[in-house]
């Protein structure tokens, strides 16, 4: 009651008091009552960044991804995706191990050996052998070990993230051997400007590749939305939670495609 009075008085918004909310409804749907909060203290800034990103997407990324999808045959696009995934093997493997997930670490290693041995990483044979791709990152590792997201954060260009996952991305880039690769001499290990072009090209290609695959899904997900910002925030959070609980479709036999006879 006190809390409700506090929440109402100073802000002066006409939000109903907290006790007006029936927590039984939330348990019925299997979501804890604590999800009621937005956990988005930087909402104004985030909305601004979000609008900026949407503009970038409309002007550059979306047309580029569309052209890429229409002009480049699927076989080549698959090779590009497979190669990018092979490049990210060290980071995925490190995080699988840090998560204490031996099973996934083994899958990642097997995938690397199979795919590099047979195609230098350009073709995903492992997938056909029943070793499907999964991604792992340090933000997810923190989540697996119980770290909350901190708060929601929209990064310029990169899009939805959180305090935890932004820190995770930084750690991942330090873990990535590609960040240490010098441009002139592949034997010299330096962390510096020389390595940047590689990282930029890789990041750009990954973004383009991901955007070209998600085009229809994103269009559908945002169709008829009353508020794009909130919908993206909600969908991103749910996807992230699924990553952390490792229940993305196709991997867990109890979920998704497991129902096929």
């Amino acid at each position: 009651m006190q809390k409700a009075a506090l929440a109402q008085a100073p802000i002066g918004e006409e939000e109903p008091a907290d006790d007006a909310y029936d927590y039984d409804d939330a348990t019925l749907f299997g979501y804890g009552a604590e999800e009621e909060g937005d956990n988005d203290p930087l909402e104004t800034l985030n909305r601004f960044t979000f609008a900026f990103n949407e503009m970038l997407d409309t002007l550059f990324l979306r047309p580029a991804a569309f052209t890429y999808r229409e002009l480049v045959p699927l076989g080549i696009r698959n090779a590009v995706r497979s190669f990018l995934r092979t490049l990210s093997t060290p980071v995925i493997l490190a995080n699988d191990l840090l998560q204490g997930d031996g099973e996934r670490a083994l899958i990642t290693s097997k995938r690397f050996f199979v795919n590099t041995a047979f195609s230098l990483g350009f073709y995903d044979y492992a997938e056909e052998l029943g070793l499907p791709y999964h991604s792992s990152d340090f933000g997810q590792t923190l989540g697996v070990h119980g770290t909350g997201e901190g708060f929601y954060l929209v990064l310029p260009v990169f899009g939805p993230s959180s305090a935890r996952d932004t820190a995770g991305t930084l750690v991942d880039s330090f873990m990535d051997p590609l960040s240490y690769l010098a441009a002139e001499d592949l034997n010299v290990v330096t962390l510096g400007d020389d390595a940047r072009p590689y990282s930029y090209v890789r990041t750009g290609a990954s973004g383009l590749e991901a955007r070209s695959r998600s085009m229809d899904v994103i269009d559908q997900a945002l169709e008829g939305s009353l508020d794009h910002y909130t919908r993206v925030r909600s969908l991103w959070r749910q996807a992230r939670e699924a990553d952390i609980e490792k229940r993305s479709a196709g991997e867990d036999p109890d979920f998704g495609l497991g129902g096929l006879p």
């Binding site: 939000e15 019925l28 749907f29 009621e36 993305s248």
Partner: protein, 203 residues
């Protein structure tokens, strides 16, 4: 001799059939027959649009716990809203659902497979049922349906497609609209305008 054989054979047949009949009960059986009904009733485009919409809304009323869904989605604004606004929301929400989802049934060629239900850890009357939709052209779509068993009759509470919950997504989106508009009445008005414009119709 022969009548006795027939009799015992039919008995064996009956015994063999019983477990299958039971397997068709439970949340999986409910969703299976509900889905079959939806495909039978809603895919035929020679039926006039208004009639299909009527059938769709009738199925919403029978198969979904619209009251519980609305309470969950509207959350804190539900109690402070008056009964007229609540009913207005449920009606408009049904308009939204039929504009958004009924067109997906038009001429639908695929089928679906129901997996085995996963009971909720905390509440035995609730379960998640996986359903995979397969269409001749396109990737299979993995969904999960949250079903509540209320004294032997089943009602759908939520759908997850590729991991994202419809109820949770709408709750967060509508919360921001209601904060902006100052309550449930404002949200209903927004939804009405969008429905009138046909904004929710998939291309």
């Amino acid at each position: 001799m022969i009548p006795r054989l027939v009799k015992s054979l039919s008995l064996v047949l009956l015994v063999l059939l019983i477990p299958q009949a039971q397997a068709q009960e439970g949340p999986e059986g409910f969703l299976g027959s509900f889905g079959q009904e939806a495909i039978a009733e809603l895919t035929d485009t020679s039926v006039p649009e208004a009639q299909r919409e009527e059938r769709f809304k009738d199925m919403l009323d029978r198969g979904f716990d619209l009251e519980a869904i609305s309470r969950f989605i509207i959350a804190r604004y539900w109690r402070s809203a008056d009964e007229a606004d609540r009913q207005a929301f449920i009606e408009t929400f049904k308009d939204y659902l039929s504009q958004r989802f009924l067109p997906l049934f038009a001429g639908y060629q695929g089928d679906f497979a129901t997996g085995s239900a996963r009971p909720d850890r905390d509440n035995p009357e609730l379960s998640w049922v996986p359903i995979t939709f397969r269409s001749p052209n396109g990737q299979p779509v993995a969904t999960e349906w949250r079903v509540r068993n209320l004294n032997g009759s089943y009602k759908i509470l939520d759908v997850r497609a590729e991991g994202a919950s419809l109820a949770l997504t709408l709750r967060e989106e509508y919360a921001s609209v209601m904060r902006r508009e100052g309550g449930l009445a404002g949200l209903v008005e927004q939804l009405r305008q969008q429905v009138a414009r046909g904004a929710f119709r998939p291309d």
